[in-house]
């Protein structure tokens, strides 16, 4: 029995007289505690699917169920990390997480909420920066705050929409480790669904990778299983045959041109 289930989902957007179908015929079963990536070209509806799980967008037909209950809207059982961090610029790092905790975990006492915030800040190593404002911290730090915020509300599912897209490769690599660390620290009980463009990222982090066709009316092309053992290691995991195989498969699915064509080679006229 799957934990997070998308059944026959189609999502279409109405504008004026035109109906634009974003995604169609989406069927997806995700087990609890899995990390699943959705990858594809721009416009293939990855974020739309994410939003439907988040409850920010509603399916035109079909449905999304979490733990047996249909998703009808956003809720504290799903934590979201947005692409643009979406930290509130007038709140400190501490306050940004606190307000989320305060809103989502209403039954806790003030002291308990404070303790939660402090705990997650420490988990992402930002406790010393908790009084700073978003404009005073780097992009990587902002994203760590966003991740901490999403984790702090103790959701069932974490939804990450291209969370590292705006970061440089080095920061990105360290944040992969941060994410996995948090996931481990919560006993790998949280289900993570992540949208990404980055093949390496998808393979490194995920149990399964959902490859999308191009939009509009995008469908799922293929679902790749990633049987790499955990904990994964940036140095070693990338050399494993499973890793290479999956990468090969994804490249061929996603990338049209993997090298320059022979006829594109510069040729000297008559000289040679």
């Amino acid at each position: 029995m799957s934990y997070l289930k998308i059944e026959n989902m189609e999502i279409a957007f109405q504008s004026m007289k035109v109906s634009f179908v974003a995604v169609t015929d989406i069927n997806l079963d995700i087990e609890k505690g899995q990390i699943v990536s959705i990858i594809g070209h721009s416009g293939c509806g990855k974020s739309t699917i994410m939003n439907s799980i988040a409850g920010m967008t509603f399916p035109t037909s079909g449905r999304v169920t979490l733990n047996g209950r249909e998703v009808k809207g956003p809720g504290p059982d799903r934590g979201i990390v947005f692409q643009n961090y979406s930290l509130l610029p007038w709140l400190t790092v501490y306050e940004n997480i606190y307000q989320a905790v305060d809103a989502a975990l209403r039954d806790l006492s003030k002291a308990e909420k404070k303790e939660t915030v402090d705990r997650y800040l420490k988990m992402v190593n930002l406790f010393d920066h908790r009084e700073k404002y978003p404009k005073q911290i780097s992009g990587g730090m902002k994203q760590r705050v966003a991740i901490a915020r999403a984790f702090a509300i103790d959701p069932e599912v974490l939804l990450l929409d291209e969370p590292f897209g705006a970061l440089d490769a080095l920061t990105k690599a360290s944040l992969h480790i941060e994410l996995l660390k948090l996931w481990n620290l919560t006993q790998r009980s949280k289900t993570i669904v992540m949208v990404t463009h980055d093949i390496e990222e998808a393979i490194f982090l995920s149990n399964r990778i959902v490859v999308m066709n191009n939009g509009p009316a995008a469908t799922i092309r293929e679902i790749e299983e990633v049987h790499l053992p955990r904990p994964r290691n940036k140095k070693e995991t990338v050399n494993q045959p499973e890793y290479i195989a999956v990468r090969e498969r994804l490249l061929s699915l996603l990338i049209d041109k993997v090298a320059i064509d022979e006829k594109d080679f510069y040729k000297e006229e008559a000289a040679a």
């Binding site: 988040a54 920010m56 956003p74 809720g75 504290p76 799903r78 934590g79 979201i80 947005f82 643009n84 979406s86 509130l88 610029p89 007038w90 709140l91 307000q99 989320a100 305060d102 809103a103 989502a104 404002y133 978003p134 404009k135 915020r149 509300i153």
Partner: protein, 290 residues
């Protein structure tokens, strides 16, 4: 500003001195730099005043004394400000007391206007229905001159002092209302999504997202509104009489004392500038960068 650039080169010139006494000169350099910058700034201001006074003197000559000379005006101005708080009865008070009276009316009208404009602005920005219903009213009432409201205020309140406060209220609320509505309407989806995603209550959304985001816009609106209010009070007092800087202008005109009128204009301008600066200061404090 050009002065800053030049003072920076001055600073670098001083600090690149390789001699042994470098540390002491380097220590003094920023002080010198700021000093020169201040002098330069002062110089520009003095130059612009000299220009203004020159043109003014010329115009005074051209109108054969119809427009009083800067010197005569300044003498009158000095008389007015050197004893600003004397009180010889209801018709003869120092300029400071008159200003205070006008400012009192302005603050009352402005405060009432703001108390009305901010909530309505928030409603209009946040709720499409409210916007559609209120917007035509705003468009029709906004361009109405404050002086046209005066008779209406008089009929409604049966009192010219209340009518004066009313016209300040009704004309100064528009910039605040429109800017507030604009601010609230332009809350980025990102922030709204955060509130939605984490289940912010309506109150939390209002206090932690909507108002902090809109606050710079609201303060801008207030700053514009106080400018309007200050403008209107002068005109309003000409209609209603009593104690105030506007009535002072009217009375001085009645007595054909242009020196006093011009002095009053200067004072009005300075107060308006200070009010504007005050609000700009607050604006800067509440602006966050994203």
């Amino acid at each position: 500003m050009a002065a800053t650039k030049k003072s920076i080169t001055l600073t670098t010139a001083l600090t690149t001195d390789p001699s042994a006494g470098r540390s002491s000169i380097a220590g003094l350099a920023p002080i010198f730099a700021r000093f020169f910058e201040a002098i330069r700034g002062l110089g520009y201001t003095l130059l612009s005043f000299a220009l203004l006074t020159g043109v003014w003197s010329l115009m005074s000559k051209m109108t054969e004394g119809g427009l009083p000379t800067p010197l005569a005006t300044f003498q009158v101005f000095w008389e007015l400000v050197k004893d600003p708080f004397y009180d010889y009865g209801p018709n003869d008070k120092g300029i400071g007391l008159q200003l205070a009276s006008s400012l009192g009316r302005v603050s009352m009208g402005f405060t009432l206007g703001s108390l009305f404009a901010i909530p309505v602005g928030i409603l209009m920005g946040a709720n499409t229905f409210c916007k559609k219903v209120f917007y035509p009213i705003v468009q029709i009432l906004k361009p109405v001159s404050p002086l046209a409201w005066f008779p209406i205020g008089l009929v409604a309140f049966e009192s010219s002092s209340m009518a004066t406060i009313f016209i300040i209220f009704i004309t100064s609320l528009w910039p605040t209302l429109i800017n507030t509505a604009f601010g609230v309407a332009s809350i980025p989806d990102d922030h709204k999504n955060v509130a939605k995603a984490f289940g912010f209550s309506k109150w939390k959304y209002l206090t932690k997202v909507l108002i902090p985001f809109s606050l710079p816009h609201i303060i801008t609106g207030l700053r514009l509104s106080i400018g309007v209010a200050w403008l209107v009070i002068v005109a309003g007092e000409m209609l209603s009489g009593g104690i105030g800087i506007g009535f002072f202008v009217w009375d001085s005109w009645n007595a054909l004392s242009l020196e006093k009128v011009i002095s009053a204009i200067l004072i009005i301008g300075i107060v308006g500038l200070l009010l504007d600066r005050g609000f700009s200061f607050v604006e800067k404090k509440v602006t966050y960068s994203t």
